[in-house]
Structure formats: structure tokens, C-alpha cells
Amino acid sequence: MDFLVAFIPLLPFIAAAIIGFGNLFNYIDGVQSERITAVIAKSAITLSCLLAIALLAADLMALNSGIFIVGQWLSSGNLSIELNFISTGFSVIVAALFSIILAVITHFSMNYIHSEAGFHRFYFVLSLFSSGMLLLILSGNAAGTFIGWEIAGLCSYLLISFAYDRPVAAINATRVFVTNRIGDAGFILGIALSFYFSGTIDWVRLNEISETLATPTVTVISLAFVIAAIAKSAQLPFTPWLARAMEGPTPSSAVFYGAVMIHSGVFLVILLHPMIEKAPLAMALLVVVGLFTAIYSFIVGLTQTDVKSSVCFAISGQLGLMFLECGLGLWELATWHLCAHAIVRCYQVLTAPSFLFYVHRNPMKLVTPYIANKRWLYIASLQRFWLDPIADRTLVRPINGLGHDLDRFDKNIIDRAMGAPVSTNYTISSLTQLEKNLDKKAQHEIQVEFVRGSGMVGKLFEWIANIMSWFEDRLVLRGIGMDMVGIGSKLGQAAITFEQFILKPRYLVLFVFIVLMIAASI
């Protein structure tokens, strides 16, 4: 029954393609076509869901061989990547669970998003996301998982900026996407390192080979993947992106940050647990990050006054606990925690808009007086421990500044050197300028009249005087004197600018990086 696994990600992908192209070529458009879109998306994900359940059943009956290879995807030198899927164990359970959740949410969204401007867009992205997410879970190698990982990230970006006409949504989407890219960098590094050290990027083989690798090697690989997981699952210090991501429509929040995508970090860690167990440092990092995120989310969650935010911090807190469990080696517990949390949280987020209706006349429980009296904690909690401003100060602004500097460099040096068109500075633009020029001309004429000689000697003298005057003006005054001052002041300006640049911390950091890179390359 292994072959079923290939269809699970494929079907939502086909649905996404149909919706996308249909919308692009105006076959599917407007409110009247909403049914068609919904039906396509729904039937695809439902079919996938049924297939996943069938696969799980087959797995439980031990009919699966564990790996299903579709074919060669890429072969280049030593590197050969197959298009293969895992068809047994934890991955299949998670795939089944997530496909059920996805099917439920797809169904739910039909009424929720009904007759909104981006209905078809929403379903396109949702289907694409379903496909990517299932690929992430079921892929047998790191490349496939990474493709799914990136599709999920992209869809998350598209859905947060669902209302892209609102600037806040666009800014938040960008911020979330960029934050996630830090994790992606870790993922790519992880793939590269695993190929470099073990010669394979198949998850199963990688886990097997890691038994034979030296501890430092395993630690480095594990750390790379753990960073990817931490970023994707909104653990410290990446937690703030989760709150920003709540900008999107509720079903998307549920699917991305409540139930499905947010768990992919934990899933990755659990998938790689044989390897990570070999790396005590990675385990310690999981413990520390998980613990602190749980505490952080608990404290910040106490002061949240809207439903979505408090749910969001509850999510990151629970995920923190999962990471803590992983770090402590309680893999079984983490697995159960993941599945249970996905189901509960899916329900919670979907019902969040009507939450106040349910809890009406049911007052909130107050915090204990001990915590309530800690004022600094209150402020810290309200400010979410200033994580966003800190990131702005230390990362965003310096990089922005670097961009500005490079832009200036480009405009002032590269463009000029390449002879890019410059503004018409030298043409006359105002009447005063014209008058000034005329005045200069008149002055010049008077000057010419003034130095006119008469007779042969006079003419000769005038001629010599003109040559000498030219020499004096061009060479002695302007050539040596003025240019000396001019060049000197230009050099001084350049030195001041350089000095100011050097004094900016971003260049210090850049310098340190360059030195490190040079040191590493030697």
C-alpha cells in the first residue's frame, strides 16, 4: 500500500493548480464560482485525508515497507536525491491527523470566507499549503521536506497579507517571512552539513548513519536543524512573529499557527530524534529554549486582552513544553502532546471569534496576588519583554542602514563611474541664474575693454598680458591653489564620512563577520 503516500500531497497540489490557473484565466471568478472552488479544494483534501487514513490503516496492519521511491529527482556527482516518501510510523500518524484537520478547516472556511474579495485566492493558498505541509511530513529526504517547509512559509506569508491593501498586514507578513528565513538558513545549512558528513540526506539513512558519526559533527548538524525547528515553531527568540502572524483570517490562523504549520518544528525534532539524542548540546538547547519560551509565553499571555493574542501565547507556551519534553528525551510524550495539542488548538482558534459569546457571564479567573503585585513583571509582560524593539535595534536598523549606505555608494560612485544619466544641474533653471550669467558676461566685456592696448606695442602688450593672465588664472590660482584646497577638502570630507561609517556598529559587526569568514576559509 506504499504507493498511496505519493498521492497524499499530490491531490491538494492539483486542486491548487486548477484553482490558480482557473482564476488566472478567469474561468473561476466572482461569487458564482465560489462553489466550484470550494468543491475542488474540499474534494481534493478529503481524498487526501482518506488516503492518509488508509495509509495509516495499512501501516497499522504492517502492510507498508517503510519507504516509497517514486524516482530519481536529481543526480549530480555524489549528490543524488530521490523523490521518496516515508510510509510508516510517526510521519504517517501525523499526516493522517493533519489531513483531517486540514479537511475540517477547508470545510469550515467555506462559510467563513464566503463572498470576500479573495475567496479564490484563499482556497488556492490553502490547497497549496495543504500540499506543501503533507509533503513536508511525508517526504523521505531533507530536500523534499525543505520544499514543503518553504511552500508552507510562502503560504503563510500570502495569507498573513491576505488583506494586502492594509499596510499593517503587509508589514507583518514581511516581518514574519524574514524571521522564518533565519530558520530556513539553519535548515539549508543542516542539509548541506548532513550531506557533507554523512553523504546522504534521506531522513532514515541520516538517523542511522548518525550513530557512527563523531559527537561534534552530530552536534553541529543537530544544532542547524534545531535552529530551523525553533524558528518555525516560534520559540525564543523568534516568538514575536507568532503574534504578528495572527493578522491573517481566522481559518488560516487556525491552520497555520494553531494546528498544523507551527508544529512542523517539533515534528522535525521528533523525526530526527535518533540523531539529536547523540548531541547533548542540542538537547540542552532544546531544554533551555523550551523552558524559557514556556515561562515567557505564560507571563505574556497573562496580560493579553484579546482572544487571538492570548491563544497565540498559549500556543507558543505549549510548543515550548513540547521542546522541553524533547530535550529531556521524552519523545513519546512529545508525540502525544503534539497530536493532542493540534486537535485542541484547532478547535480553539476556529471558535475564537465566537469565544466571547461562549464565556459570557463566565468571569475570568484572576491571577494570584503574588504575581499581581509584581509591577515590573506587568510592564515586561505588556511589552512582551521588548523582544521586537530589541530585534529592531540590533538587526533591522543596522541592516537598513547598510542598505542605505550601499544605495548611496551605488548612486554616488557606481552610477557616476558607469556614466548613468545625471540630473540637469548645469542647465539654467531660473531667471536669476540667467541674469547672473548675463551679468558675468557684461563684466567680462568691461574687463576686455579695460585691458585694451593701442598701437603695435600696445597690442603686443595686450596679447602678452592676456596669455599671462590665462596662465595665472588657470595654472597658478585655479590649478595649484584652488585645486589644492578643493582636493584637500574633498579628501577631508571623504575621511570624515569613512570615519563615521567605521564608527557605526554595523560596520564593526560586518568587519567581525568578514574576519571570521576569512579565518574559517583558511
Binding site: 599671462m468 595665472e472 590660482l477 591653489g481
Partner: protein, 490 residues
């Protein structure tokens, strides 16, 4: 404390006292500055009275070792070469201060700068130790930079920076030359001028030539010699008029003074470079004159005429004979008086009309007869009319030059002719012609302006009619120098 130290520190004490006066008491500041400048002038007059004109060697010598390890000393002294310069410096400073009543902003800083400038200039002429000389030489730059950059005209920033860069650049060559000579000094030999003169004689001849070239650049920038004069037109035009007086009256003489001292130190090299020196001198003379003829800005005209006149001094120096040397000393004094008077008068005129363009003026003799008299005499002196001090100096130059090069002195004649051309034209354009409405009511010279201009013009005429005392003052020293030069090269 000797009279020379007293003379030297008088302006410095004046500057210190001014620093203590509150800056809003402008009257007191002006009074105090004028008193100290006058005091220095009286001291220098006293020095002239005390000076023994029959003794060509250094007089009133003072020596105090500053740094025993290196042997540098605080050594002062005057001879027939430096004495006229000292008197000229103190006199022109007094006159510049008399002409400074038009300065209205930051009065205190202005007067302190002028007094510090006087301190530096007097120090240059009095010091008998090369390191001390160098210190004073550089010291003059700081107040001058401030004076031009703060109280100057519209392009004062460029002018001041340009001036300092040029002079500093020249000073470096001078310093290198001094270091090169000090290689031949005995250990702990110090840097006394007399000791270095002896040491320079022991140098190989080619090295002497290089050293003299270094000095030529160093002093040539200040003098200025023809291709190195780029700072001068700008600085003279942009500087406030009193500062222009000091700049062309004394600071240019510092270059010539140093040049003469160096020629006496390195006569053999000077003989080798004689052709170069005379070429530069002739080019500078004619070049400066022609450009002065071309200027409509009166200050620029006077500035270029300075280039021309300093070319005559270089020619005097290049002759390496007695007549030439005495001519150089005379021309230095004459040009100090003439250029000082000219900048003073042009500055006073500018204060009244706020234009320096000669084309704007006409028929001034009707409204400013006293000014017209003084200006005309000064311009006559500038073109070397007999009866003025300029004639005496140029006569020596022609005689000295003729002894050395013969008919080449026709070019000197041409330069004097050019000088006459622009001087006469200036007189014509300023004082004659139709009456222009805007030139109808201009105030004539006031009392203190009359004193300032009168002293200079009187000196110009007096020394022109009776030059003997001026020549006698320097004769003994020039004889001695001539002997030194003759011993080496003939």
C-alpha cells in the same frame, strides 16, 4: 633683560593684557593695543639710536641655552640687515592698528591676533638661532590664518587655507634644508646661525646646491618668487586692509630676509644657481607687472605689483655683489613703506565706497584732495620716480645688476615701464574724469588716518630725498656679508 627681549615681549604682553580686558570694552581694547604697538615702535626707535652703525657684526646679543642636549638657544641680536626690518615691522603694526577702527566685530580677538602677529614677526627678525627662527616663522601663520579667515572678504575661507597650505608646504622644504646642514654640525653644536654658517662651508658643493634649492622653495613661497605666488593674490585681496598692510609690508620681507641670510651662508651654491635666480627674478618682475596692469580690483593690482617688486629684490640678491645687496635691503624697506601705504589708502577708500573696482571711481580729487596727494605720491614711489625711496632702491638694483649681467637689465627697465603704465593709469582713473554721482560726497581722510598715511608718505619722501642715513644703517653689515661671499666664490 636686554633691549631686544624687551622689544620682543612687548607685543606679547600687550596680547596677554588684552586677553584680560572684557570683550565689550572696545575702546579700552583699541587704546591698549595701540599703546603697546606704539611702545614697541618707540623701543625700536631707541634701538636705532643705540645702534653703532660702524659695526657690521651682531649687536645687543642675548643668548640663553634652551635645550642643552641639542644646543638650541634663545639667541637674539640685530645687525644692519635686520634692524631696518624690525623698525619697519613695529612701524607698520602701529599704522595697521590705526587703520583698524573700521573693524567692528570681535574686536578683542582681532587686536590680540595682530599683536601676536607682531610678536612673531619681530621674533623672526631678531632671532639668531635657526630653530628659534623657525618657531617664530611658523608662529606668524596662526594669527594670520585667524585674521584672514574671520575678518576677511567673501572668499576668506579658501584664501586662508590656501595661504597656510602654501606656507606650510614651503616651510617643510626649509626645515629639511636646515636638517641637512645640521648633519655637518659638531655634536651638541646647537643651531646658532653663525655656527651653522661655518658648518655649511664644510658641505660638499652638490649638497649645498640642494640645500639652497630647499631654502629657495621655503623662502620663495613667502617672498613670493614667480611660480610660487599662488596664495598671494587671493590672500591679499581677501584679507582685511590692515592685515594686507602687514602681509605685504613685512611678511613678504621675511622671505627676502631669510633668503639673504641663506645666500651669505651658501655663497658657492648661490653662484651655481645664479642663472636660475636671475631668470626667476626677471620673469617675476615682468609677470607681476603685466598682471597688475590687467587687474580692475585695486587690491589685486597692489598684490601683483608686490610680486613685481619682490622680483626686484630677488634680482638684487642674485647679483651677489655689494651694490646689489644694499639695493636689496633698500628695496625691502622701500617696498614695505610703499606697499603698506598703498594697502592703507586703498583700504580707507574701500571703507568709504565699498568697491575696489577701479572702473567705479572717477574724479576723486575734488572730494578727497588729501587722499589724492598721498595716493599719488605712493604710486610715484611704486614706479620709482626720483625723489621717492623707490627710486633709490631701483637705482641700486640697476647698477648692481648691470655689474653682473650688463644689457640684460633692459628687462628691468621694461618692468619699471610696465609699473609706470599701471601706476599712471590708476592715478588717472581715480582722480580725473567726469564726476560720477555716487562719488560726489565721500569723506576725506580723518585725523588718525592722516597720521597713519602721513608717517608713511613722509618716510617715502624723506628717504627718497636724503637716503644716506638709511644706507649707512646697513652699510657696515652689507660690507661684512660681501666680504664673506667674496672669500668663498672669488
Amino acid at each position: 633683560m636686554g633691549i631686544l627681549s624687551l622689544l620682543l615681549i612687548t607685543p606679547a604682553i600687550g596680547a596677554l593684557i588684552l586677553a584680560l580686558v572684557p570683550s565689550q570694552d572696545t575702546k579700552q581694547i583699541r587704546l591698549a593695543a595701540n599703546i603697546f604697538a606704539a611702545l614697541s615702535f618707540l623701543l625700536s626707535c631707541w634701538l636705532v639710536v643705540m645702534y653703532d652703525i660702524h659695526d657690521g657684526a651682531l649687536q645687543f646679543e642675548e643668548q640663553f641655552v634652551l635645550n642643552p642636549k641639542l644646543g638650541t638657544a634663545f639667541a637674539l641680536g640685530v645687525d644692519g640687515l635686520s634692524l631696518p626690518m624690525v623698525v619697519l615691522a613695529t612701524l607698520l603694526t602701529s599704522i595697521a592698528l590705526l587703520a583698524s577702527f573700521s573693524i567692528k566685530n570681535s574686536v578683542k580677538g582681532y587686536y590680540i591676533s595682530i599683536l601676536m602677529l607682531e610678536f612673531g614677526m619681530v621674533g623672526v627678525f631678531l632671532s639668531q638661532d635657526w630653530s628659534l627662527f623657525y618657531i617664530f616663522w611658523e608662529l606668524t601663520l596662526i594669527p594670520l590664518f585667524i585674521l584672514i579667515a574671520r575678518w576677511g572678504g567673501t572668499r576668506r575661507n579658501v584664501a586662508s587655507i590656501n595661504f597656510v597650505l602654501y606656507t606650510m608646504g614651503g616651510s617643510i622644504f626649509m626645515l629639511i634644508s636646515l636638517l641637512a646642514i645640521s648633519q655637518y654640525m659638531p655634536p651638541h653644536g646647537g643651531t646658532l646661525m653663525s655656527a651653522m654658517t661655518i658648518a655649511a662651508q664644510s658641505m660638499p658643493r652638490d649638497e649645498q646646491v640642494w640645500v639652497l634649492l630647499g631654502f629657495l622653495i621655503g623662502f620663495g613661497v613667502k617672498m613670493p618668487i614667480f611660480p610660487l605666488h599662488g596664495w598671494l593674490p587671493l590672500a591679499h585681496v581677501e584679507a582685511p586692509s590692515p592685515v594686507s598692510i602687514l602681509l605685504s609690508g613685512i611678511l613678504l620681507k621675511m622671505g627676502a630676509y631669510g633668503m639673504i641670510r641663506v645666500i651669505v651662508m651658501l655663497p658657492e651654491a648661490a653662484q651655481i644657481l645664479q642663472t636660475l635666480l636671475i631668470t626667476l627674478a626677471l620673469i617675476g618682475m615682468i609677470y607681476g607687472g603685466v598682471l597688475a596692469w590687467r587687474q580692475t580690483d585695486m587690491k589685486a593690482m597692489v598684490a601683483y605689483s608686490s610680486v613685481s617688486h619682490m622680483g626686484i629684490i630677488l634680482l638684487d640678491i642674485a647679483t651677489l655683489n655689494k651694490t646689489g645687496l644694499i639695493g636689496a635691503v633698500l628695496q625691502m624697506t622701500a617696498h614695505g613703506l610703499v606697499a603698506g601705504a598703498m594697502f592703507l589708502l586703498v583700504g580707507l577708500l574701500y571703507e568709504r565706497t565699498h568697491t575696489r573696482n577701479i572702473l567705479d571711481y572717477s574724479s576723486l580729487v575734488r572730494v578727497m584732495p588729501r587722499f589724492a596727494l598721498f595716493m599719488t605720491i605712493t604710486l610715484f614711489a611704486a614706479m620709482g620716480l626720483p625723489g621717492t625711496v623707490g627710486f633709490i632702491a631701483e637705482l641700486h638694483a640697476i647698477v648692481g645688476g648691470f655689474q653682473e649681467w650688463g644689457n640684460l637689465m633692459i628687462l628691468l627697465g621694461v618692468s619699471i615701464l610696465i609699473g609706470t603704465a599701471y601706476a599712471m593709469r590708476t592715478i588717472g582713473m581715480l582722480f580725473t574724469g567726469p564726476v560720477k554721482p555716487q562719488m560726489r560726497d565721500i569723506e576725506d581722510l580723518k585725523l588718525y588716518e592722516l597720521i597713519a598715511a602721513g608717517v608713511l608718505v613722509a618716510a617715502i619722501v624723506l628717504f627718497g630725498l636724503w637716503p644716506a642715513p638709511l644706507i649707512d644703517l646697513s652699510m657696515a653689515t652689507v660690507n661684512q656679508m660681501n666680504d664673506t661671499i667674496n672669500q668663498s666664490i672669488r
